[in-house]
Symmetry: C2
Subunit: 193 residues, 2 copies
């Protein structure tokens, strides 16, 4: 038979295709039915894997945060300290540039508004990691006279902000062209150095 009754791995196929569509048409341009059409299955097939559109977006966000955590976890080879903190921030920004569709999802208030428990747990885990790196950097002598909570707030804000500015089209022309990555590093070093 040309098309088997069962797709094989529809769930992952939906996720992959959805991410692709999202990067082209955004959240409002993404439809479960369109996805089904693209993959050659019936219009209600996606509902077997994601009961609602919100659930699909959440699953994508979960995949995104997982990918982000993996990317920023790759710097653990460095010894704890400012250098590793720096590597983590840059890994975040680079990840956002490379996976801008996923980053957009995580930045979309309409998606995060309905964040599942899984998703918020993952985000909390990442926040803990950031807090931990701050602590390690302070223990190695960096900014020992500053409240760790203030440093944490600054870190999270600066990281998120830099990722946005280097990723979103509206800013790219005006603030940070992709080729000005050296400026990004210099900006981060204003905080670290």
């Amino acid at each position: 038979m040309n098309t088997p009754y069962h797709h094989g791995n529809l769930r992952q196929a939906l996720l992959d295709r959805a991410i692709k569509t999202l990067s082209e048409k955004g959240v409002e341009g993404l439809s479960l039915r369109g996805l089904a059409r693209d993959l050659g299955v019936s219009h209600a097939a996606p509902l077997r894997h994601f009961a609602t559109k919100v659930e699909l977006l959440n699953a994508i966000a979960v995949e995104g945060v997982g990918s982000l955590i993996a990317a920023t976890g790759g710097v653990d080879a460095n010894p704890p300290g400012v250098a590793r903190l720096r590597a983590m921030i840059l890994a975040y920004v680079d990840w956002a540039i490379e996976h801008s569709e996923l980053h957009h999802i995580l930045r979309n208030p309409d998606v995060m508004r309905h964040a599942s428990d899984d998703l918020t747990a993952l985000l909390a885990a990442f926040a803990d990691r950031q807090r931990q790196e701050i602590k390690a950097a302070q223990e190695s002598g960096w900014r020992t006279d500053t409240d760790p909570e203030v440093l944490f707030l600054h870190l999270v804000s600066l990281t998120a902000g830099t990722a946005i500015v280097t990723t979103e089209e509206v800013y790219q022309r005006r603030v940070a062209a992709p080729e000005t990555r050296s400026n990004v590093e210099a900006s981060i070093d204003l905080f670290l150095g």
Copy 2:
């Protein structure tokens, strides 16, 4: 007659009601037909003022940026310099807290993806203002040895990031509770001081 044929000022009523709905249900929960129902007009009446939903969102975003510019412009009483730069950043963050629905709109990639020329022009104007304040602060002796473009990138990133972190629900519990505004100031001063 009970309800006059002409509404009077449907355009502004649509904008106001849309902002209210947005803060409760988000972009996907906002519908032109629902708006029409809420205001007691026919389902197609809104189209006379906003031909598409995207157009309505753009108009809201324009109103938002205008409001933001006005808010940050209120600090012009201060003489140019670091103090005024500081006031501008804090005015931005405070504006984001107070008008979080508008801020969310401006942070929604799905909205900014279809930004109109009006909107991008306004955003450019605001970016120019930020660049100008950086220049003024440097002329008053602040961080004279740093590339202005790097400072500008840092300012935009930190401002946007802080506004997000203090505004978005996902962060509020974890990073910055509303009552920790003193931490926000301390965080900003890491950059300014």
